[in-house]
């Protein structure tokens, strides 16, 4: 017993020591930046786009819960949050930065201050003003609302809400696309199912088309009414003529463009979409997707950037800024990615679940988070959970991806974990750093990967790529990374990772380190502290 214990300790020590160089620690790689909330007209960094006063964070409706979440990049994670000068009834979650104001009084204008502190003690503060103004909101109620163009129409108020997205859109023909309808207002959706029944364009293939929502003409902040979960359903079917007299050949999606600034989608169930759930302009600033549950996308077609959330490439070096994607569940995709991004910078992808991404045709056109390029910078992929993905968990052909961080994520159950067969076979990589173009510095740390990790198509102008303090479990040889077409190994720095094979039982359920490896909690892998026990299901039975 004692010999076994000593042997085990030596083995563990070896696993870490073999790949240990200088301990990089967890110092901030980039300055701590508070994307949101912050004052209207300000930006986290000099020279970056400022947040517009039309953003959802600056408005509240009397008596309806105001709920936002702070978005932070850079600094040393995890963070703590606090509020000062908050009005009565406003609180902040010290761990997540979620801010709740339960019952804003009519006519109020308040200016709280948020402070975020990182683990190095660095702090950033910002104040923002929230105006409680019922005139900046419209309401939709799929059950009790009324259409805008019927006798005794709905007017979009809380007492007399609209019924359909078509009402928010003010029509379903081409001319309604650029009709000024409730621009810069915030739309609350009550419980019920909403079909994509504004004007649809670009129908073809497997898609009924897309409904374009231009931020200069329509509301782009869509919120679920607190405590309710409205559904946006892209399906077209004959039994429900909501879509109108259009070819009923599939599903639709929604695209926010113009600039796409201030797009804010919060709290929806989104289902039965084609090509995308939401596509937003890569040039847009301060866009937010939060607390949505995306389920059932496709089957769709390859090469249309199929994904639940995507940004369109600007086709130039211009980039949008400060998109935030937090607390979403993105699942059940047939040929697509949970998130696919082009042409945006300082984006935060945090606390999302991406799962069940597959290809029903037997191909490999599936991904979790596809960070593409078209010039991107400071992408932060933090504390997400990705599993059941048949091709790549985090990756993509990264055309001109500049300095970015991938940290504290869990990736597991990606196909072919232990079945690397030949050069060029990238399928089944949990993480695929494939620099098909110029790449800047990537820092990949404190993740737990139970999957293959690949670095490919990299030369002396790329990187460096820092892999440190991760837990990496797979059957691949050596340091458990696969190198494909890497012409300059000095550009890959691999330090202080805990690596091993599945048979070594390094991680257990939830990808927490097992008891034998508990001494690495807090220094290797995604775990910040000791595992907490959550209640499991009961009475499992089979038949």
């Amino acid at each position: 017993m004692r010999i076994a214990k000593v042997f085990h300790t030596v083995c563990v020590g070896l696993i870490v020591a073999i790949f240990a160089c200088a301990e990089p620690g967890f110092a901030a790689n980039y300055p701590l930046e508070l994307i949101s909330p912050r004052a209207a007209g300000s930006s986290p960094t000099t020279g970056q786009p400022a947040i517009s006063g039309n953003n959802r964070i600056f408005l509240a409706y009397p008596g309806i819960e105001y709920n936002i979440r702070a978005a932070v990049i850079g600094g040393a994670y995890p963070f703590t949050f606090s509020l000062s000068n908050a009005p009565s009834g406003m609180t902040i979650n010290a761990t997540t930065g979620e801010i709740v104001w339960t019952s804003p009084p009519n006519g109020a204008a308040v200016t709280p201050t948020i402070t975020v502190t990182d683990t190095e003690g660095t702090t950033v503060t910002a104040s923002w003003t929230i105006t409680v103004d019922p005139n900046r909101f419209i309401f939709l109620d799929a059950v009790n609302g009324r259409e805008f163009d019927v006798a005794n129409p709905g007017t979009g108020t809380l007492a007399n809400p609209f019924r359909r997205i078509r009402d928010l859109y003010q029509g379903d023909v081409y001319d309604s696309k650029r009709l000024n309808a409730h621009v810069n207002k915030i739309a609350y959706f009550r419980q019920g199912t909403y079909y994509i029944d504004g004007y649809l364009e670009d129908a073809g293939g497997l898609s009924l088309g897309r409904m374009a929502v231009l931020d200069s003409f329509k509301p782009v902040a869509w919120l679920a009414y607190p405590g309710e979960t409205p559904t946006i359903d892209g399906q077209c079917f004959s039994a429900s003529p909501q879509i109108g007299a259009r070819p009923c050949n599939g599903s639709a999606h929604i695209t926010f463009y113009g600039t796409g600034d201030n797009t804010y989608i919060d709290g929806f169930r989104v289902t039965n979409m084609a090509y995308h759930g939401f596509r937003v302009a890569g040039l847009g600033n301060y866009q937010t997707f939060r607390r949505n549950h995306f389920s059932r996308l496709g089957p769709t077609e390859p090469s249309v950037n199929e994904s639940w959330i995507t940004t369109s490439s600007s086709g130039s070096s211009a980039m949008g800024s400060h998109m935030t994607i937090q607390d979403n569940i993105l699942e059940d995709l047939d040929r697509g990615a949970c998130i696919k991004l082009y042409s945006t910078q300082r984006i935060l992808i945090e606390d999302n679940i991406c799962r069940t991404s597959y290809d029903s045709t037997g191909g490999n056109d599936t991904e979790g988070f596809a960070i593409k390029g078209g010039t991107m910078d400071r992408v932060t992929v933090r504390h997400n959970t990705i599993y059941n993905v048949s091709q790549k968990g985090i990756g993509g052909n990264m055309h001109t991806l500049l300095s970015s961080e991938i940290l504290f994520n869990r990736v597991y159950n990606v196909n072919n974990v232990g079945n690397y067969t030949s050069p060029g076979n990238y399928w089944g990589a949990g993480v695929d750093i494939n620099e098909d173009g110029y790449a800047g510095t990537l820092r990949i740390y404190r993740n737990t990967f139970v999957c293959r990790v690949v670095v490919g198509n990299t030369d002396s102008i790329d990187g460096p790529f820092y892999f440190y303090n991760n837990v990496i479990i797979n059957d691949d040889p050596g340091d458990h990374l696969i190198y494909e077409n890497v012409s300059d190994m000095s550009r890959i720095q691999f330090t202080n990772n805990l690596v091993g094979t599945p048979s070594q039982n390094i991680v257990g359920t939830n990808l927490n380190l097992t008891e034998a490896y508990a001494s690495y909690v807090g220094t290797r892998g995604y775990q910040i502290g000791p595992a907490t026990t959550l209640p499991p299901p009961r009475n499992l039975r089979v038949q």
């Binding site: 159950n413 299901p537 009475n539 499992l540």
Partner: protein
């Protein structure tokens, strides 16, 4: 240790004695005894059956399962479970779904198994197109942010 074992033996002997005494009572009492015995046995069987179905959990964080081996010839099997509850029996919050794990080796780990993600409030899932063989299955609850509970105890399904 020895003293305890002896006390247990004495208690067992006492119970035997009581039972023997009852059997020597009058015919009417004997019928009553048989009826009571039947009721007791019936109750015991019921408790056992319920226990097998519900497991031995205390309703709060316990891992319970029948552990039953089910044989099926349809290349599929269906898993069913009840939602988790807190230690005080109240419903959990922030539950976003379940993961059903299945593997051909036991014990199930995240490394050796396949996973079916199950959405929201759904508490069953069918495993289909399974080749002939023995499958070990277990389920976790998935909470916001992707955190999972421990696995339930494994249940075995045999596809013939």
């Amino acid at each position: 240790m020895r003293e305890t074992a002896m006390r247990d033996q004495q208690m067992s002997d006492n119970r035997t004695t009581t039972l023997t005494t009852s059997m020597r009572q009058s015919p009417r009492s004997w019928r009553t005894f048989r009826r009571e015995l039947a009721q007791v046995l019936s109750s015991l069987l019921l408790v056992l059956a319920v226990g097998m179905l519900q497991g031995c959990g205390d309703g709060g964080g316990a891992v319970d399962s029948t552990g039953t081996t089910v044989v099926t010839s349809s290349n599929s099997t269906t898993l069913m479970w009840d939602p988790p509850v807190n230690s005080d029996g109240t419903a959990v919050s922030d539950l976003v779904g379940y993961n059903a794990y299945y593997a051909t080796t036991s014990p199930i780990t995240v490394d050796n198994s396949q996973i079916l993600a199950v959405e929201g409030d759904t508490t069953s899932v069918a495993l289909t197109d399974l080749p002939v063989g023995t499958y070990y299955v277990a389920v976790t609850a998935v909470y916001g942010g992707g955190d999972e509970s421990d696995l339930t105890a494994e249940v075995t399904a045999v596809i013939q």
